[in-house]
């Protein structure tokens, strides 16, 4: 038992996408203040887990439960989850032409504030917040005013995700392969943004394929996801071990499904 409050509690989660069983009984507990990394080879279900937690339509939960701050997360719509403080940084942030990044974010921030019973921010207060948070992730202010992710480079898109996270101030952040496609400089900037948001009140789940990100965002716990289940959990050294030995040694014995 931990003395810290549990932020996220996943119990025996099974999920299918398009009729294919992807998650086959994931259990996971993330206390407030901790950063958990979920590692695994391609196709192991890492991104599916991230999207199921954010409530993506079409990702069908067939069994199990997820508690977030003690509440039934799976019963909430994606927007309710966001308003309750869950944030998913997308692996492939969506380009939305015709919608301004900064004003879309203002609409989002105010929807969240309204839900929390806080007064909505006016344009001036919001722009001050945006300027402050833009510095954290070193994102160009011209990008902020452009249509959401349109024409952004891969690195700019990822930075925009972290920028949105900083503005929306979530309690639980799920980062889905945020390191993929980033050069080392962009990775450092993204990691710095994430690290600045680490706090005893916040929890983070890092979904990643490579150990590289974990050099910059040091996790408290590393989980290995294989064939839709967590097969091993350990400290940050587990990531180094995986880097050296790959995943084969962890493969589930035949017939265990």
């Amino acid at each position: 038992m931990t003395t810290k409050d549990t932020m996220l509690e996943v119990k025996d989660l099974h999920a299918s996408v398009g009729g294919n069983k992807i998650l086959r009984g994931v259990s996971l507990s993330v206390p407030a203040g901790e950063v958990h990394a979920i590692m695994g080879p391609n196709g192991s279900g890492k991104s599916t887990l991230a999207h199921v937690l954010a409530g993506r339509p079409g990702y069908e939960v067939t069994k199990g439960e997820v508690r977030y701050k003690g509440k039934d997360l799976l019963a909430m719509s994606p927007e309710e989850r966001a308003r309750e403080g869950v944030f998913l940084a997308f692996q492939y942030p969506v380009e939305i032409s015709g919608v301004s990044n900064v004003y879309f974010l203002k609409a989002a921030a105010n929807a969240i504030r309204k839900h929390r019973g806080q007064p909505e921010l006016d344009a001036i207060d919001f722009l001050a917040l945006v300027k402050e948070k833009a510095k954290v992730v070193d994102i160009d202010e011209s990008l902020i005013k452009r249509p959401v992710n349109e024409g952004f480079s891969g690195g700019e898109k990822k930075r925009n995700e972290i920028f949105q996270m900083a503005v929306l101030d979530p309690a639980l952040t799920i980062l889905d392969e945020t390191d993929s496609g980033l050069d080392i400089d962009a990775l450092r900037i993204v990691a710095r943004g994430v690290n600045q948001l680490r706090s005893p009140e916040r929890a983070m789940v890092l979904v990643t394929h490579y150990q590289r990100l974990l050099d910059y965002i040091v996790p408290d716990v590393v989980h290995v996801l294989l064939d839709g289940r967590i097969v091993k959990s350990g400290g940050k050294d587990l990531a180094l071990e995986l880097e050296k030995k790959g995943y084969e040694w962890l493969e589930a014995p035949a017939g265990s499904r």
Binding site: A54, G55, R56, P57, G58, S77, P78, E79, R81, A82, R83, F87, L88, F90, P93, V94, I96, S97, G98, V99, S100, Y103, F104, L105, K106, A107, A108, A109, N110, A111, I112, H115, A123, R146, P147, Q164, L168
Partner: protein, 454 residues
């Protein structure tokens, strides 16, 4: 074997329109010039011979006008009701163009509702007034472009030609404010029809913007059968805006005919939002080299609306360019039609034409027929066209929702965003703002929606 030549028998609706024509003609001023009388009777005969188009005709394959043919239209009441006139306030963009605004009620110029400051040879007049006092001003152009085989509605418009606007912009004149033409239909309890005609002559190197607005009171039944003919002389720049916001039970049929001179620039922004049945034909011809044409359009249909746009661009001369972007949004059981033809004639070298039609389908029962057509008969040209029709991107919806934006608001925002590039191309601010507000009412969403769209 028939022994005697029989008088042709016309369908009942054609007979009805002929009777209406005779009654109309009897009430015309006696001094009407001979050429105009001939124009009318020729047009009526042409309509009689073809009748209303049917879906067996290629140009009308997707649009049935049976509902128009079936309807008996009556004379409008002598004085429109106050309620009908109140609709003007919703059509005039907060009096933004009050300095140069001609208002037409049931197709007739309403002088007390209009004002048109003119100077230095600029003419902004009621067509009726010109026909009565100085018909020679319009004789060279009137019906020069609109008439043609198979154009039954344009023929009806010519037969019933009565009033409208005549705008003549002198050579070199630069108008800084747009001219607004408002066509308000205000029928009584019975359906009415109006046939407004607009003639625009933009002199060499002149610059101007003209707005046409169409509308009527909610629930009213009427037909607007409008024809606009525009000549853009060498080096002139003309922006034309057309806002169709007719009442939901109205019929709207419009033709916009444009001839462009050498090195002229013409832009059409056509927005179709109202009417149960709407059809717009845009016919453009490059008559000189080096012209530029921009066709920007949007239709937004709900309920059982049927919104049809046909555009024809005729690259008859070399070194001309066309940029065409049409977007359609259909919801409920609405149907949209876009047929865009670009013809590049032999010898029209260095033609540069891009046409794009994008449609957004918001419900299972809504439908769009999109037929972009390029016919290229010259060999040194740069042309491309494209058409896409689809639904809101589910991933984009999820992305917005995952940031805390409600589903309905996310849908409205994405729908609005889809239309926004057409809206943003509108250069007249009051118009852009007015259209934005209209779209917001149609697509309810968060208060931040307006500023979120770029």
């Amino acid at each position: 074997m028939t022994t005697a030549a029989q008088a042709p028998t016309f369908p009942a609706e054609v007979v009805r329109w002929r009777e209406e024509f005779e009654a109309f003609r009897a009430g015309l001023p006696s001094q009407e010039p001979e050429w105009l009388r001939v124009l009318r009777t020729t047009a009526m005969r042409s309509f009689e011979e073809t009748g209303f188009p049917t879906t067996r005709q290629e140009d009308w394959r997707h649009t049935s006008v049976t509902a128009i043919a079936r309807t008996e239209f009556h004379r409008p009441p002598a004085a429109p009701s106050a309620a009908a006139l109140a609709v003007l306030d919703t059509l005039d963009f907060g009096h933004a163009f009050a300095r140069r605004q001609l208002v037409f009620v049931n197709g007739r110029h309403a002088p007390d509702l209009s004002s048109a400051e003119t100077a230095d040879g600029l003419r902004i007049r009621s067509l009726r007034e010109v026909l009565d006092r100085a018909p020679e001003l319009v004789q060279p152009w009137l019906d020069g472009q609109a008439r043609g085989p198979g154009r039954a509605f344009a023929a009806l418009n010519s037969a019933f030609l009565d009033d409208g606007a005549f705008i003549s912009i002198p050579e070199g004149a630069v108008l800084t404010e747009p001219i607004h033409l408002v066509f308000l239909s205000a029928p009584g309890p019975q359906p009415t029809a109006s046939h407004p005609r607009v003639l625009v002559w933009a002199g060499r190197k002149s610059q101007a913007a003209i707005i046409e607005s169409y509308g009527g009171p909610a629930g009213a039944e009427y037909l607007t059968n409008a024809v606009t003919e525009i000549v853009v002389e060498d080096g002139a720049v003309l922006d034309h805006y057309r806002l169709q916001r007719e009442a939901s039970r109205a019929f709207h049929v419009g033709a916009l005919c444009v001839t462009q001179g050498r090195a002229s620039r013409f832009a059409s922004h056509a927005i179709a939002l109202g009417a149960s049945l709407s059809r717009l034909d845009i016919r453009q011809v490059f008559a000189g080299e080096g012209g530029e044409c921009l066709l920007n359009g949007l239709f937004l249909g709900g309920d059982r609306q049927h919104l049809d746009t046909h555009t024809w661009v005729d690259h008859a001369q070399p070194h001309c360019s066309t940029r065409e972007l049409y977007k359609g949004i259909v919801d409920d059981q609405a149907r949209g039609v876009f047929v865009g033809r670009i013809l590049v004639r032999p010898g029209a070298q260095k033609t540069d034409a891009i046409q794009s039609n994008k449609n957004l389908i918001l419900s299972r029962e809504a439908l769009v027929d999109s037929l972009p057509q390029l016919e290229i008969l010259a060999d040194d040209v740069k042309c491309k066209h494209g058409s896409t029709t689809g639904q809101l991107d589910p991933l984009a919806l999820f992305y917005l929702r995952s940031r805390g934006i409600g589903e309905e608001a996310a849908r409205a925002l994405l729908t609005y965003a889809f239309a926004s590039d057409v809206v943003q191309r509108i250069g007249v601010e009051a118009l852009r703002v007015g259209l934005t507000e209209h779209l917001q009412r149609r697509l309810p969403g968060p208060a931040d929606l307006k500023e979120a769209a770029v």
